[in-house]
Assembly symmetry: C2
Homo-oligomer: 314 residues x 2
């Protein structure tokens, strides 16, 4: 197993990425994956040394360029062929590595995932999820978190299936409950999209559809997978993130609201592309990098992508 990390992506790269690797290796059990670190070789080498990281299982691939956070995704990827993101996708697409992680330019990561890796056969639109903490310590997954602003009912059904498989195999929740985010509980409520999506979710035998869920249910442990188009999903996710900021600003100390710190979850996988691609927040610190490596490892360990391919071939 070989996991590639973009060492230049994120506001605190490469330092926090190195600290994340250190933390990951410290906690890792016997089977440590090989790590391919892409970025400025001298700085990475120096940091690995400083942090006393054993380099037996590490390869450094030098990247002479980096895509900045606010560059135009498509243009940057096309023009910066020696950037860490471009090299990462090159290595992933030719099979040199098994997964690629970056906390860099989200747009460039999406473009790379969609155009150099391609979607799983049968998936018309890959998606990105958002995590929502629950009071009982569990997490919920919202799909789509903002990549697909306008959707068709079929897209939402696919998001539900991709999300269910992720939650089942990566979080170990069997038969995950799927809820359709809507403005009322009863069947028949909603906008044109949600009204048309409801029967499709209901009749899909691969899903454990529990019906509509409302805004008040999103922070509760009602559904494991919460489905909506990316417009509403993005607004809801960012509002939840802002609750953490308010709680912090007001000096409220509460274990549950601490978990609204979305940074601690690392990154979110691009669901529906044929290989594991994980995108982190720009503000990722060590824990986030550590968690992203763990998610990538688990996606490979559980053969999640093969399971998704099987599900979409049915």
């Amino acid at each position: 197993m070989n996991i590639a990390l973009d060492m230049m992506g994120g506001d605190y790269a490469p330092l926090e990425a190195v600290k994340g690797i250190k933390a990951f290796l410290t906690d890792a059990c016997n089977l440590v994956p090989h790590l391919t670190l892409i970025g400025d070789q001298p700085s990475i080498q120096l940091l690995l040394l400083q942090y006393g990281i054993e380099t037996n299982n590490i390869t450094i691939v030098h990247a002479s360029q980096a895509i900045e956070m606010h560059e135009h995704p498509t243009r940057a990827l096309r023009e910066k062929k020696e950037s860490s993101i471009a090299i990462g996708f090159h290595l992933l697409s030719n099979g040199s590595v098994d997964a690629f992680i970056s906390a860099g330019n989200t747009g460039a990561m999406m473009v790379g995932a969609l155009f150099s890796i391609k979607a799983i056969e049968g998936v018309s639109r890959p998606t990105i999820g958002g995590y929502f903490p629950r009071e009982n310590g569990k997490l919920g997954l919202l799909v789509d978190a903002g990549i697909n602003a306008d959707c068709k009912p079929e897209n939402l059904v696919q998001f539900a299936l991709l999300g269910s498989l992720f939650v089942e195999h990566i979080w170990g929740i069997s038969n995950p409950r799927v809820g359709l985010i809507n403005l009322g509980e009863e069947e028949g409520k909603g906008n044109i999209l949600s009204q048309a999506t409801y029967p499709l979710l209901k009749e899909n035998s691969q899903l454990n559809f529990i019906g509509n869920i409302e805004g008040r249910d999103i922070l509760m442990d009602k559904a494991d997978v919460m489905v909506c188009e990316g417009f509403t999903g993005n607004v809801v996710l960012k509002m939840a993130e802002s609750v953490y900021d308010i709680v912090q600003r007001r000096g409220i100390q509460d274990e549950h609201f601490e978990r609204f710190n979305f940074e601690m979850y690392g990154g979110v996988p691009v669901l529906g592309v044929a290989k594991p691609v994980i995108i982190g927040h720009g503000i990722s610190h060590a824990t986030a990098f550590k968690n992203m490596i763990s998610i990538a490892q688990k996606m490979i360990d559980t053969a999640l992508l093969a399971k998704m391919e099987t599900a979409f071939s049915k």
Copy 2:
């Protein structure tokens, strides 16, 4: 000035309505409006006596029926002609009263407002707003909060104008800032609807449009009026309401989060219909009723409806 109250609407009617009237009259300045209380005459009379409410400025109109919370709105309004809601709209439409308030069946209130009162000329879809507390003690108004699940760009522009006039005249915020709820800040971001709405808001000379606002801005004091279709608006509002529940459950005492108790704001006006109609939460207590009477009084005092008519005739 004559304000009508449905005394049978809401989970705690008529008791909490009477307590709300008591509180309103206690705090009222010299000019007290005449109140028309619609409902079961004997119970209302008894409660007024019990709470020592002076009845000089009060008329009781007996209603032998009541529309229950879960009845089908259109059917109930058609079949229960002697219900408090049907009588209220009858009195409002024939000019016997100047405003109508109810915490009863929301659907029946909307149907009554739209079909017996009609929209202001030029308004294609009336809307309902939701209130969002800010840390500085101010409020923001979100329109639409769930009545119009699918919208056209023109609808959103009208919601923005109706919301701006409400915020300016009822809350006294001059030149209120209008933000378009979106998944990114830059012009050009968004789904098809928000992309098409942006230029219309920008070019409208009656609006102080400040651009896109994101989910993270909804709880902040960024825009006074926040515009989106009713699907996203409803999900966002109900999620904010649930934050209050979580904070309460976790025993967190915080002045700001106390104001997430949406009950205290009373009700929301139906914006865009030709007369003041205010709809309360089913769980309305005394403070909510008191606040609803105040809002109705202010809508009449400031001639808000005439100002809306003028704005829409431009």
